[in-house]
């Protein structure tokens, strides 16, 4: 006759019982021939299935096929790496070649001299707010200057902007037309 403890057989077989309950069930196994037989049969069955099941191995050609496909994928990957290297080398050569041969000198055009700004042509020390840099001008009658503020915006806002900027605009001389 099955009792409450017999119902724990599956949990015991699945190793799910805690230490206390497992100990109780082991004591039950001593007295319950039915559960003992089931547990023994399951142990035999698990071992039998494991031994029989693990004999199966993949056929050699399965492995060879996998190896071939991996090799193929590797070759493809290497070709891509090789192409990338070639591409990188070609780009490098192109860049070096272009630097060595700058080509025809471009026509002069107006451009602010950003690389090495000229010396300041005017510094407004009275206001201590701006310096003025002269740039190359394509027009002989025009002088182009750039005005750089020397104080931060918050301070500049506090000052009278007209007083600061008017002297700078006076530097612009000539007529672009």
């Amino acid at each position: 006759m099955k009792n409450h403890e017999c119902e724990q057989l599956e949990a015991y077989l699945a190793d799910e019982l805690n230490d206390t309950t497992a100990a109780d069930f082991l004591a039950h196994l001593e007295v319950c021939a039915s559960c003992r037989a089931e547990a023994d049969q399951q142990a035999w069955l698990d071992q039998l299935l494991h031994d029989a099941g693990t004999i199966t191995t993949a056929a050699p050609d399965v492995l060879w096929e996998v190896e071939d496909q991996i090799s193929h994928a590797r070759r493809k990957q290497r070709r891509m790496y090789g192409m990338s290297t070639l591409l990188a080398a070609a780009s490098l050569l192109l860049a070096v070649g272009l630097r060595r041969d700058p080509g025809p000198t471009p026509a002069p055009k107006f451009e602010a001299n950003r690389q090495s700004p000229a010396a300041p042509v005017a510094t407004f020390t009275g206001a201590e707010d701006v310096i003025v840099i002269q740039h190359e001008s394509p027009y002989p009658n025009v002088t182009i200057v750039q005005v750089y503020p020397t104080v931060d915006a918050s301070r500049r806002r506090e000052r009278n902007s007209e007083r600061i900027l008017l002297p700078a605009t006076n530097i612009l001389r000539g007529d672009a037309s």
Binding site: L13, A14, Q41, A52, G53, A58, L63, G82
Partner: protein, 207 residues
């Protein structure tokens, strides 16, 4: 897996020395060499589980040809996604998960019945060193396993034959731990009932 097989796969997976030697001066090729060294190690890790994948594939497909295709596809998919395998110790369950997903997709695509039983010819000959009675018992046990419903069959196979933990099986099959336990209990009960006579015979032979 035999050592010869592992060696063969290792050779296939060896880093491309030609490319590495040619471009060793560049950081690019150094990166390539490092990647390939990592790949080689991972390939050996994956290759060690080919047989497990094949056994599982055979169990769920019930057909040698399909099992071989599924194994190849699984190994290739695993190799392609090898970088996402953070922990090599879980490579086996990771590959089995890939196989499960591929087979699920295949069933969805072809609407194939997943209840196919393994062809009698695909049940392997049990250990030749065992007695004829033991071989017969093993054959009957495997046949009974293959007659279980698909989910119970998968759970039973993964736990009893591949020796995965309940948590690993839950991950492989994307089901809860409770579902694993329920399927396992049902599968064990069915197998015990079906193989009661075989067990009695085994007990009788012992005594």
């Amino acid at each position: 897996m035999t050592s010869a097989r592992l060696k063969r796969l290792y050779l296939v997976a060896a880093p491309g020395s030609e490319l590495a030697a040619r471009d060793s001066a560049t950081a690019f090729s150094k990166r390539v060499a490092t990647d390939q060294a990592v790949d080689t190690q991972l390939d050996a890790t994956l290759a060690a589980h080919v047989d497990s994948v094949y056994r599982y594939a055979l169990r769920i497909t019930g057909n040698v040809e399909q099992a071989e295709e599924l194994t190849q596809e699984t190994m290739l998919r695993g190799w392609r996604n090898r970088r996402s395998l953070k922990d090599p110790t879980v490579a086996k369950s990771w590959l089995l998960r890939i196989a499960t997903n591929l087979w699920t997709d295949e069933i969805r695509r072809s609407q194939r019945r997943p209840h196919q039983l393994i062809e009698p010819s695909t049940i392997p000959n049990p250990n030749p060193k065992s007695t004829p009675e033991q071989q017969e018992s093993a054959r009957q046990a495997l046949a009974a396993l293959d007659q279980l419903p698909p989910r119970q069959r998968q759970v039973m196979h993964l736990i009893t034959i591949e020796q995965l933990s309940h948590a690993e099986v839950a991950k492989v099959l994307a089901i809860t731990a409770a579902a694993v336990k329920a399927n396992l209990a049902a599968a064990r009960k069915t197998l015990r009932t079906q193989l009661k006579d075989v067990y009695k015979e085994h007990q009788g032979n012992k005594t």
